[in-house]
Symmetry: C2
Subunit: 284 residues, 2 copies
């Protein structure tokens, strides 16, 4: 397979840098082709602004979605953005690797998303009408590909547990896994997360590295998080609200959008093969 | 009161720009002092890197938390970051205003958080031991001040509702409201959100502006989101998990961390005065 790692840490001699090298070595040992977008090393520009749309007239009001649509269709996005789009189309698997800063990705990686995920490429894809609300959430340009996160967190695992004060890690990552990766079509694998990243000793690193190698060996076979497909019948169109009664009685919030909330979500827990039973029951 | 608006949109002639001006005019009409950090206009730099820590030896490994702690204590953070810290200490109220891009803030605003919220200022504050896990989540440097979000979203309100496909807006904003604003001590007011931002006509704008003026007139009196205080007795120390039985039977995920989940969270819904009844019951 072809694997793209988008790496967002400013220090190569970091835990993130070491884990990235572990991942690359294991992937290459398995015969995969690996490319890396090292955002800091490459001086990635984070801010969406007029510079992204060089064909926009200088006195025109900048509407970001409209300008993105026009530039993507006309092929006038900037070279750095086009290069990343080409890599995304090349890769069978996308890995985003980053330290969790303030419960989300570092700005430079958010800027990669903001700039690369253009209108017509990652959103605004497909028919938008009263009958169909685009190709997204399980469909879209990147459907058929897989994606996963490699995340380091400074806090304790307990603090990110179901009752932990920070909120559950799977809920904190939902805006990324569901909103950024599943949205344009990726099958999203459970994230690889390490905690207490600032206190790693050799034994902790060895254990994390072995766990990561296992994940790299099972990229093709790990079951994705069973998010519900937008256009599979679970949602009312166009209000896009989940039909009543589909979820387990316990599900609330983000967990509504999992087909089998009880079996999924915990990082590193093996997923389940998504069945279409539920969809058939609804659309029948 | 003194109000700081941190504004993150690349186009002054945008809906965001117009709403910002509405807010400023209303605040000034009420006699408040208003300052604005216009991140795009000021050319804010988004990426945390070695440039943030000019006193770090050139060959030293960059550990971000350690470097941030050292630089904050020694007063060697960069001038732009120090300027923002000074504004945060000046302001009684902080408003973050931004378009929702990919279910979070634009990179430039995340970069403002990543760079300005230094160790010793916004995190790593207070005693960290087996008995106490720092001054955070309701305590900290910015305790006693208020904060709120002004957010524009392109999608429909239904898509962000309790059963909407994007996930509930209050859950999507939890990593910001709870993880970024409540963490260093702010009392966080319910967010001001407008939807279908790309389809605003004059009537929609007039209605939104009136709603925003009302929120600006009630900054001092609106009840904050009743997040639980870390050190008030609701959480086991040091695992920081919510004690059993405190939540309503319906609460799951992020909603566990609300003292009264049923009364809170919906944008623009009047909040409730937070009582300490619950804390007394637990600590008694």
């Amino acid at each position: 397979m072809k694997v793209l790692i988008v790496f967002a840490h400013p220090e190569a001699r970091s835990l993130n840098g070491s884990l990235r090298d572990v991942a690359i070595r294991e992937l290459e040992a398995q015969g995969h082709d690996v490319r890396v977008s090292d955002l800091y090393a490459e001086g990635w520009r984070s801010e969406v602004d007029r510079g992204d749309f060089p064909s926009l007239p200088i006195d025109a009001r900048l509407g970001v979605a409209a300008a993105s649509k026009q530039a993507f269709e006309a092929g006038t996005l900037t070279a750095d953005v086009k290069g990343e789009i080409e890599k995304l189309l090349w890769a069978d698997v996308l890995i985003l690797q980053f330290p969790l800063w303030w419960f989300s990705m570092p700005a430079i990686l958010k800027g990669w998303v903001d700039r690369v995920f253009a209108y017509g490429f990652a959103y605004g894809v497909g028919e938008h009408s009263d009958k169909r609300w685009g190709d997204r959430y399980g469909e879209g340009t990147l459907a058929g590909k897989r994606a996963m996160l490699i995340v380091t967190a400074g806090g304790w695992q307990d603090h990110y547990s179901a009752r932990g004060i920070n909120g559950p890690i799977d809920d904190l990552l939902f805006p990324i896994n569901h909103g950024i990766l599943y949205y344009p079509g990726y099958d999203v694998l459970p994230p690889f997360v390490v905690y207490q990243a600032d206190r790693f000793d050799d034994a902790a690193f060895a254990a994390a590295a072995e766990r990561l190698r296992m994940r790299m060996r099972t990229l093709a076979t790990t079951s994705p998080i069973p998010y519900r497909r937008q256009n599979g019948g679970d949602y009312v169109i166009p209000s896009m609200q989940l039909r009543a009664g589909l979820e387990s009685p316990e599900a609330r919030g983000f967990a509504l959008h999992l087909d089998r909330p009880d079996e999924c979500g915990a990082a590193d827990k093996p997923g389940v093969i998504r069945s279409t039973t539920n969809l058939r029951a609804v659309t029948a």
